[in-house]
């Protein structure tokens, strides 16, 4: 028997030949597509680029790290316990994951890098900050963040008691501008590293990364999950996951669905849909869809024509 469990008519078939031709054709198609269209290679954004191209955004982000108002500072698991993270109803999936990559943005993104500098003014600002109480730091940074927001830029901020915050923010901007912050944040305390958690979190706390992504149509509301930079194809197979973010409720903040959209999409909707696809053979109704939409008649039209019978079912 050479045709599985089939006892009806058979035809000649060369599995190896078919595989070889398929490999040849697909290889050629790949070479042609690669030669014609290439692949995207958009340069990374360094902290130096950010500081040089969007200094006000960089400066405001440093202040938000010190005041504890940044996204990272209030993120929750797995970086800190500032919030419980997202949940699906009463199921706190994010909290169950725990805090495994402890991130203290003010300390790790600002104070620790600045502590490596030998400049006396910077050293004095760092010493003043580290020597102050938690409440004092919070008051300095909070007041300055508010004043900065009201003024619009650092040079227009009204005078006030902001402690070392302006000096720290200015020093961090200078440090990033000459490239030292990239080295300090990426290398950290380890000689070898492949973990970019800290610099990517810091970069994500500002607006520059998002604005750049917006120009490349990569934002969530632009179906960005399935896009790539330029006109190159991205992960189009993620269309169903990104589809939910376009729905009212999921793409709005301030309601349960929007605030927990990631957990609901990736913790409930997509796993359930995947499970449905996996279990199609066992789900009444779903497994009958091919009989209701008889595309199989088209696929096997030659066979049915040859048999000249109406299929059962």
């Amino acid at each position: 028997m050479t045709a599985g469990h089939w006892n009806g008519p058979t035809r000649r078939y060369d599995l190896v030949k078919e595989g070889s031709i398929a490999l040849l054709v697909v290889t050629l198609a790949t070479v042609v597509l690669a030669a014609l269209f290439s692949s995207p290679d958009e340069k990374t954004i360094s902290l130096r680029n950010w500081a040089q191209n969007a200094p006000d955004d960089f400066y405001a982000t440093v202040v938000s790290e010190l005041s504890g108002a940044s996204t990272s500072a209030g993120y929750g698991p797995p970086y800190n316990t500032a919030t419980e993270g997202q949940s699906i109803g009463p199921v706190p999936l994010a909290r169950w994951g725990g805090v495994t990559t402890a991130v203290d943005p003010a300390q790790q993104f600002v104070i620790a890098p600045l502590s490596t500098l030998s400049d006396a003014t910077v050293k004095a600002a760092v010493t003043q900050w580290t020597g102050a109480s938690e409440d004092q730091r919070s008051a300095w940074a909070g007041d300055y963040a508010k004043a900065l927001e009201d003024a619009g830029s650092a040079d227009k901020v009204v005078a006030g008691d902001y402690g070392p915050v302006p000096a720290l923010a200015k020093a961090e901007l200078d440090m990033a501008g000459n490239g030292q912050l990239d080295t300090a944040l990426i290398a950290g305390s380890s000689f070898y590293t492949s973990d970019y958690t800290k610099p990517l979190l810091f970069l994500g706390d500002g607006s520059y990364l998002e604005e750049t992504a917006g120009t490349q149509h990569l934002l969530g509301e632009q179906w960005g999950m399935m896009n790539s930079t330029g006109n190159f194809p991205g992960q189009a197979w993620l269309w169903l996951a990104t589809f939910w973010y376009q729905m009212p409720g999921f793409n709005a903040e301030g309601n349960t669905w929007g605030d927990n959209a990631d957990a609901i999409v990736f913790g409930a909707i997509m796993p359930i849909l995947s499970l449905l696809l996996l279990l199609v053979p066992f789900i009444p109704g779903l497994r009958s869809v091919p009989r209701w939409i008889p595309l199989y008649r088209l696929i096997w039209r030659r066979w049915y024509r040859q048999q000249r019978v109406t299929p059962a079912g």
């Binding site: 599985g4 398929a22 990374t44 994951g97 590293t193 990736f266 199609v280 079912g313």
Partner: protein
């Protein structure tokens, strides 16, 4: 070394002999490498299964070449960049072929006749491939990778997985991309193909054997 009598081989209860007998019983060579197919296996839709396998082979070869130069080689070398392009486009073709194959099999109700496991291994192969492709996008060491990692972390962290599987850790993602996930895809695809060979190609609706109708 003298050959043992055939009766001795048949009654050999060593683990090796048992495994050989079970393997040959389940997958006789003419079923693994058939030279005839049922007459109904005549449609363009059948091409997409083997095309998916061919694309997977191109992905594997181009991926292996990329590993020779290291993580950032393709940014510095025109050969590396072309290899990256081949890798990207073979992945795109792989998903196109696989999706057409999947929907084709859906509308053929290809799980009929004790073929549910064949369908399920195919779906798992599709899902694991999405993970493999996703980690590939994370390790491009380009702006795309920065943005995708920065956004994806929220989805992964929201379900608690980010506590162990850190998409911002390029080293961890690279090892998943070049070792664990390709191994997973390869094993599940191998199981899928073997099941197709063992169970045979699903017959047209209305032409199932009596045994297949009962199962």
């Amino acid at each position: 070394m003298s050959q043992a009598p055939a009766t001795d081989i048949a009654s050999d209860d060593s683990w090796t002999a048992r495994l050989r007998r079970r393997t040959l019983d389940a997958m006789p060579s003419e079923q693994l490498l058939p030279d005839r197919q049922p007459a109904y296996v005549a449609s363009w839709i059948y091409v997409f299964g083997v095309a998916s396998l061919a694309a997977l082979a191109v992905i594997t070869v181009t991926g292996l070449v990329l590993t020779l130069g290291g993580l950032t080689w393709w940014h510095r070398s025109s050969v590396g960049h072309f290899m990256n392009s081949l890798h990207l486009w073979s992945v795109q073709l792989f998903f196109v072929f696989m999706v057409v194959h999947l929907w084709g099999k859906f509308f053929m109700a290809a799980w009929r006749g004790r073929r549910a496991l064949t369908w399920m291994t195919g779906v798992v192969a599709f899902l694991v491939s999405i993970g493999a492709a996703f980690t590939g996008y994370l390790v491009q060491t380009s702006f795309d990778a920065q943005w995708i990692a920065s956004e994806a972390k929220d989805g992964i962290n929201a379900i608690g997985v980010g506590a162990r599987w850190n998409v911002l850790d390029v080293g961890q993602m690279l090892l998943w991309h070049v070792a664990l996930l390709p191994l997973g895809v390869s094993l599940i695809v191998l199981a899928h193909v073997l099941l197709v060979r063992v169970r045979g190609v699903v017959p047209p609706i209305g032409f199932e054997s009596g045994e297949e109708r009962r199962s």
